[in-house]
Symmetry: C2
Subunit: 641 residues, 2 copies
């Protein structure tokens, strides 16, 4: 998986060269380093971010950071948590501002573990990744930059990418060969420009923003909330920060104004004066300014994310956002995650190289959805403000009510906005990895009736009890970010599914199955303490019974192959307020029958790939084989029923 044994530590051969150590580069690097890849990672800054920049972590990103074991480290800095957003507008006199409403930033209908946005300085976030990388012997090489590259599979099929690097002061250069190159160097990406890939500006309006981080003294009551403030003196966005800090965004110029000048700027004092006027009748004084910056930005998307599936772009290098949306870092994380596991399954020999094409189709699709949505949202709100009862109606519903109510356009857009800003709305369209209900599969077991899980969306959260130690756990967090497909076998009633479960285990064990075909080469040396990958690096299996913990005896009720994952056997016996009247809440939340169960195949990034019924005989293993056949490297057997 790493460069072959003949290459020493100083060898110029790498699995990947990563340019840029912001959120996107660091996420990619951290995933691949943990999974054993050899990485050259450079950044043209001498130090990690010390002040300013991105700082908003969405609920879904926090799930991801927790899944990587990095959340506690970030929370130790005591970030601000935004639970609500307040809207302030001119009062009837037009002179003062008044609060016209507050909304939950992640209302209950979004089933989030952490229903808030976490605000923390980007430098702390970068540090957490950098320290993790150092544990895996990856050092960011600073300040270095990329000067040239080319990619040619014919020239060198094993290491088709040739990259030239140099120290920013010009004192040193380096030439390396690599399997992949990743450009995560921000909006002015050298890699993108070198590939002559254009940026398309979806929203034709450009803006100049001023952003200021500092400590203030104010009697404005919502200084610890996220606020959007409009007044006759201008508009401002308030975002609370850790350590009594606050961030203010002020729009300095906009291309739809008559005197538009993209080079228009404002001094720190001018912005402070504007803020004072806008906040009237409240006072605001600065004790300290930590960071101040003015920058023009348009919303844009790169035309391509890759030309040859060897050189890739991600993060700001291929999409830029208004700071208002708070999307930059979160979208960057998910770009990197999406690419990381696909490189892993290709380089590990499990998936065909074509799967890498889904990086662009999935991530570019999401970026387009996001910008498209931003425009619709802005348009709707320019027409009128939402009524209080509309906000309440939209906020109070839970997702299971989704289809039951007739909704007006405002409520629909509001809900979409919450799904987007929480990160839970990210959805990948149908393709070879995401098999929707309408997928032309041979198997009739695909997507059983009643299924609530949506392919392409994130796996739904649920609480279950781990059988071996009776710990109450978050099922969606039980498998760490290990690059493996997560196969959640909801086994229903153990008496009803006994045969089906044994047939499944037999099918998995067979040599021609997707599971039996990709067994670890070092399987005989695997420790009995290995919890997640005892047999294969590409799959982790969980079994969840709709039973009480005391009813399950692993040695009796769980077939041997599944029992080997003894830390991944659970009972679905926790009460959940979203489905208060059911016996097996996790089954119910997925839409699975609590007698018969079903299987959720979840991609390594946590998105649902397929849902398959759990049936006696060979139907289930055949359906799973059919699914994985769509992108795996080997021909899998079809087992006759």
């Amino acid at each position: 998986m790493t460069a072959n044994g003949t290459q020493s530590a100083e060898s110029p051969f790498y699995d990947i060269v990563i340019v840029g150590a912001g959120p996107v580069g660091l996420m990619l690097s951290t995933c691949l380093a943990r999974w054993g890849y050899r990485i050259k990672h450079i950044d043209n800054r001498s130090e990690p971010t010390s002040t300013g920049r991105a700082d908003g972590i969405q609920p879904r990103s926090l799930d991801l950071l927790r899944n990587m074991g990095l959340k506690a480290r970030l929370m130790a800095h005591q970030p601000a948590r935004v639970y609500e957003v307040a809207f302030w507008n001119p009062d009837t006199s037009g002179k003062d501002i008044v609060r016209t409403g507050t909304w939950a930033s992640c209302p209950k209908f979004v089933d989030a573990r952490y229903p808030f946005t976490t605000l923390l300085h980007q430098g702390y976030i970068e540090r957490a990744f950098i320290d993790d990388l150092e544990k895996h012997c990856v050092q960011i090489q600073r300040p270095w930059t990329i000067t040239d590259f080319k990619s040619d599979e014919k020239d060198n099929p094993a290491y088709p990418v040739y990259v030239e690097l140099k120290h920013v002061d010009g004192t040193a250069t380096e030439t390396v060969r690599s399997k992949y190159l990743f450009g995560g160097e921000g909006a002015r990406s050298f890699v993108r420009q070198h590939l002559r890939i254009g940026m398309r500006h979806v929203d034709p309006i450009e803006h100049v923003w001023g952003v200021m981080d500092g400590v203030v003294k104010t009697d404005f009551p919502d200084i610890k909330m996220k606020c959007t403030i409009h007044s006759q003196y201008g508009s401002i966005m308030v975002i609370p920060r850790e350590q009594n800090m606050v961030r203010l965004y002020i729009q300095i110029a906009s291309s739809n104004e008559s005197d538009w000048d993209p080079k228009k700027t404002a001094t720190q004092e001018q912005v402070q004066d504007s803020a004072k006027k806008i906040l009237n009748p409240y006072s605001i004084e600065w004790e300290r300014v930590e960071w101040y910056s003015v920058y023009p930005i348009g919303q844009g998307i790169s035309d391509r994310y890759s030309l040859d599936q060897r050189v890739f772009l991600g993060g700001d290098a291929c999409h830029t956002h208004s700071p208002k949306a708070g999307q930059g870092m979160n979208t960057a994380f998910l770009d990197a995650l999406n690419l990381a596991w696909k490189i892993h399954v290709v380089e590990g020999g499990f998936a065909r190289r074509d799967i890498l094409k889904t990086y662009e189709s999935e991530r570019k699709g999401v970026a387009e959805d996001l910008l498209d949505f931003d425009n619709r949202y802005a348009k709707l709100f320019s027409q009128r403000s939402p009524a209080v009862n509309e906000i309440e109606a939209a906020s109070s519903e839970v997702s299971s009510d989704r289809e039951c109510k007739k909704e007006d356009e405002f409520i629909q857009v509001f809900k979409e906005s919450c799904e987007f800003t929480s990160g839970y709305g990210v959805a990948y369209g149908p393709n070879e990895v995401n098999w929707s209900q309408s997928h032309q599969a041979k198997s009739s077991l695909l997507h059983p009736q009643g299924t609530i899980l949506r392919t392409g969306y994130i796996f739904i959260n649920s609480d279950v009890t781990r059988v071996v130690d009776a710990n109450v756990v978050h099922l969606e967090q039980e498998i760490p970010l290990n690059g493996s497909f997560r196969i959640f076998i909801f086994a229903g009633n153990p008496f009803s599914t006994k045969t089906a479960l044994q047939d499944l285990a037999d099918g998995l064990s067979s040599e021609g199955s997707f599971y039996g075909s990709y067994i670890r080469s070092d399987i005989d040396a695997v420790s009995h303490h290995e919890r997640h990958n005892p047999h294969s690096l590409f799959f982790t299996l969980c079994t969840i019974f709709a039973a009480k913990r005391t009813q399950i005896e692993i040695s009796r009720d769980v077939p041997g192959l599944l029992a080997r994952y003894r830390d991944h056997v659970y009972t679905d016996d926790r009460w959940d307020w979203r489905v208060p009247n059911v016996r097996a809440s996790a089954h119910a939340k997925m839409g699975f029958n609590e007698e018969r169960g079903a299987i959720a195949v979840v991609r390594p990034d946590g998105h649902v790939g397929a849902v398959v019924g759990l049936a006696k005989g060979s139907g289930t293993i055949n359906a799973l084989n059919e699914y994985f056949s769509a992108f795996c490297t080997k021909k899998l057997a079809v087992v006759s029923t």
Copy 2:
């Protein structure tokens, strides 16, 4: 508060000399260091604990560690979490063991935030404290020991304790003067022996225990749970640990056996052989033994915890426990906490010196209750095993059902056991700080009808919404461990209590009140960011309305003095499954009327001191003044109604 300004950093004058850097000494030292005291802390070991020793953190101790900001640091080591205890006994043939039951280690009727025991090596726990001490410039002086001391207020009223210390290798000595001396050096305490204080062995039976930490390979299904195993080959206790480790306790000898020999021992191999036999039909093999020790222990309590309120004992120096109870470290933490805040309020000039006498009466009382309970528990279980339905009945009830059901003796003892082992059962009897319902107070507002909070017990957990930032928070954790009394003003319906709240604020502001009499001397220099102690070092005030967050405007609804604690204004608008049908769950859990509210006066250690009704006029401030008059240094005013 610290030694006066004339003394340099090398001055031999200290606020306290602490001997022993185990859990009790470290907790005491950490509290006092944070509150600004000058500490000499020695330990006769060269290094902190590296292997073995105590490792069980009770739910209530975890609350405390969280309140100190140390919990995340400990959880980062991924400790084992014990949610259930399994009981194994001989099967009918007598040859093999079978599981005869499992119990929740902290059932639902105990209202715990963390309903599990956390198992983590004592060395990690010590390290968290030591690092915190270093931030406050306290270094443990190692390996040093105490050789002599005397305490004489006449000789030196300011620093009455004279202490001689020496390096354990005899190369250096030091003589210091101090206000207090604390002996936390374990069961063979020099301080205790020097004071000629005896140990009383409540349980006349002594035991020799073998304890082994290691990594095993086994098919015993409950190896990740806490287990009590009895077989014809002997008894064993299994406790899971972090990093795949397990701890086994084996009773090697007992003084109620005919061949009792307190010096009986067993080799590591003998203990392993015993374990193999006891676990039959399951196999067990050791991959690694990290620690093995054999030690005799009896349950004992020191006759006194202090003779003169200058020299104190705590932790194992004054009570020893069977390792089965898992009480050692937790009791030590609470000893230290109890003493720390009392020293703080005395040395800070708020409380009369007599309050220090309650350290012994409270903590010795708890130690006696605990040992008494252990004996009753053991006796009951020696008669018969509990029936499954009894366990279920005992486990499933919530505390509000407490008085409603007729319970058999077993259920009662089981519940008591859960309260003790969770730490939530620790209750201090009535005294000048704990005013029970039957306290002979003048005020009729004391302990209003319906109150569920019990004085002497820990404040009940509840979720509320913080008004300034809409964060959902744990109310009981909102005030950090700052040595202050925590005054929770449950303000009911803001329309109903408007006058009462204003009258209370006026009363607090008056110079002769408990609050107005103890204002910080540096009040004019206090930052507007100060959240917890803006006016006084001895009080933090929280105001909780039975309202929705959006209904409260702090500047309009909260009197100025209370509004100064703007981060401590909350709304009681969160749903709680324990009181599902009420509008204001936190009020309901305390037993407070949601219209009228009431005030909970909580001691700095989190135990409830008094409950006072919230009424118009001067009744409430008079009742509070009456309470604090019982132990504060100044004469407080009585305000006429």
